[in-house]
Symmetry: C2
Subunit: 349 residues, 2 copies
């Protein structure tokens, strides 16, 4: 497998299965780890950074979980390939935009991915379809265990795992869930809910990662606190919140179905009509219409179209994906044309 | 035949044939006539108005052209039926909103229609598909001749035919042509052309008649002057103007095809997508999208859809038509739903 093969496959987490997959797109667990006795990256020389990579490479390849993984030297990639990996949620903006020796390791079906020499020496993540934080935790914990057996991670009895940024100290864990909440947006409850969630220590972001505004009713909720709680407690807390939000979204969907059925039906079918016929469409409009169409599938207005197609499109309509898929650089207008083409092909099936 | 049968038939003039039918929807000739020795309607008593009707009824029924026509006593109609006849371009707002004895006579396929006791004692009109003013003139002239043989029309050697309003004195003729000029609208040339046409004595109106703003790129152009020129001269003058406008629209279409093809194609297919899937749509939006779709047919982006379907829809999506078609009164929201249903059914064929 090489990087270019990824374009022909669909990431496991987009398959649209798992608990509450009508509302929950995916669940993600990320761990931050640093090697014992090695300088943190912020102060490490290029030589030291290279040593980290040299040390980790054989260790990673020797684990059961990552034996057949794809190793990518980030510092050798083109801007397009970097953007492509960011769009697939496999690497961070920070890793892509960094300097010096960096690597990413991607398991088959992209279930697990590692970043070396991002903010920390090592970042491990898994993304699973649906609401599956405990499963995700088990998967990532197994990989972490395999690595910990071979190399030591910096750990303090008092603080837990030591990380470059104090916000990650403790478990080093970030748990996040991607939700599709169109009915809470339509009924204007989302603002209140977002604020309430933020007040009790969770972070609300958009689909396209840190610093992005929510577009198309996709919201990513993650824990702020990593210290003073066990991993299981953090997961249990966030799951409780997620279950509450799911309940609100379900109620709002029921309200729309009983009180505003014709209006929502019209909105859904117009979205379908535009997506099925437009000859050029920008990202922003496409994401919004795909979101409306997904609601239409969940409310059973649209038959014979599975929501995993729409999950896949959320990733595939992005700029680098369109360019990789077409095998060449594309201007913004060309991308709008190719995006419309791809969407038509996928949703008319 | 009775009035309710009209809803199941398509007016002859909507069939989308004839010269330049890619741009010219229809050609209309209307004559105003008054009976010799009878008081003009503006000053006539109800008794006198009744006499006009009694006099004209057997005369009209005795002509070849109108032997099988439908006679409608306008003063006995419901508001819905009045609106229905206005929407079909068979009677005027003025006849519908008038008082006292009034009648409309409609030939088979609605080619010819007469109004009794509108502003003048008699108004005769024919509407033909495409650019066909001379044909229309021949048809209406024949009916006028059949009537003139039986009853005399008020005529002065100096002024010509005498009419209630001085703007009609002379020939009593109004020639008008309904044009579809989307490319002149898109390329922002329409304003300049409208002004130029108005300056040389022609009137520019919308599709839905006197006093209406043009919607959806449909423009009706008619002569202002009825005096001092023969009917053939008036027709020849307006045809010259129409040919010039057709030429401008054709150039603009060519420009769009060569310079803005992708953009127009997208606009056309989005219009199709919305029309083919919307679950509710108001008149204004429907007319605009149908206009864009008609352009798409003429530019050959849309295949297997004839423009006569769109001509028919321009009439059929109006409020009274939707209510007659559904056999009951409908609220505005219900009409929006039925309008969307009708459009979907017609354009998906």
């Amino acid at each position: 497998m090489n990087l270019n093969d990824l374009i022909t496959q669909t990431s496991e987490w987009l398959k649209g299965t798992g608990a509450h997959s009508d509302i929950v797109i995916s669940s993600r667990i990320r761990l931050a780890r640093n090697l014992i006795g090695a300088t943190f990256n912020s102060r490490a020389s290029e030589e030291k950074r290279n040593e980290i990579i040299s040390l980790l490479r054989p260790v990673i390849k020797s684990t059961d979980s990552l034996r057949n993984s794809l190793w990518i030297d980030i510092d050798k990639l083109s801007r397009l390939d970097l953007q492509f990996l960011i769009e697939r949620h496999l690497i961070s903006h920070e890793l892509a935009g960094g300097e010096g020796a960096r690597a990413a390791i991607i398991s088959e079906m992209e279930t697990i991915s590692l970043m070396i020499n991002e903010e920390d020496h090592l970042r491990l993540q898994t993304i699973q379809s649906g609401l599956a934080l405990m499963d995700a935790w088990r998967i990532v914990n197994k990989v972490e265990g395999e690595l910990a057996d071979r190399i030591g991670f910096a750990f303090s009895q008092e603080f837990g795992y030591l990380t470059a940024c104090p916000t990650n100290v403790g478990t080093g864990m970030r748990a996040s869930v991607m939700l599709h909440l169109p009915s809470l947006v339509i009924t204007r409850q989302i603002e209140k809910i977002s604020q309430a969630v933020a007040k009790i220590g969770f972070v609300v972001r958009g689909f396209y990662g840190e610093g992005t505004e929510p577009i198309g009713d996709y919201f990513q909720i993650s824990n702020q606190v990593t210290l003073g709680q066990s991993e299981e407690e953090i997961i249990s807390n966030i799951e409780q919140i997620i279950h509450q939000i799911i309940g609100h979204e379900e109620n709002a969907r029921q309200f729309l179905l009983t009180r505003r059925k014709k209006q929502i039906e019209d909105r859904v079918f117009r979205a379908y009509g535009t997506l099925a016929y437009a000859r050029r469409i920008d990202s922003n409009e496409a994401i919004k219409l795909l979101s409306t169409l997904r609601l239409g599938i969940e409310l059973d207005f649209i038959k014979n179209l599975d929501h995993h197609i729409l999950n896949e499109l959320l990733i595939a309509i992005q700029p680098a994906h369109l360019q990789k898929l077409n095998g060449k650089a594309l201007t913004a207008v060309e991308r709008d044309i190719k995006r419309a083409e791809l969407i038509r092909k996928k949703i008319k099936k």
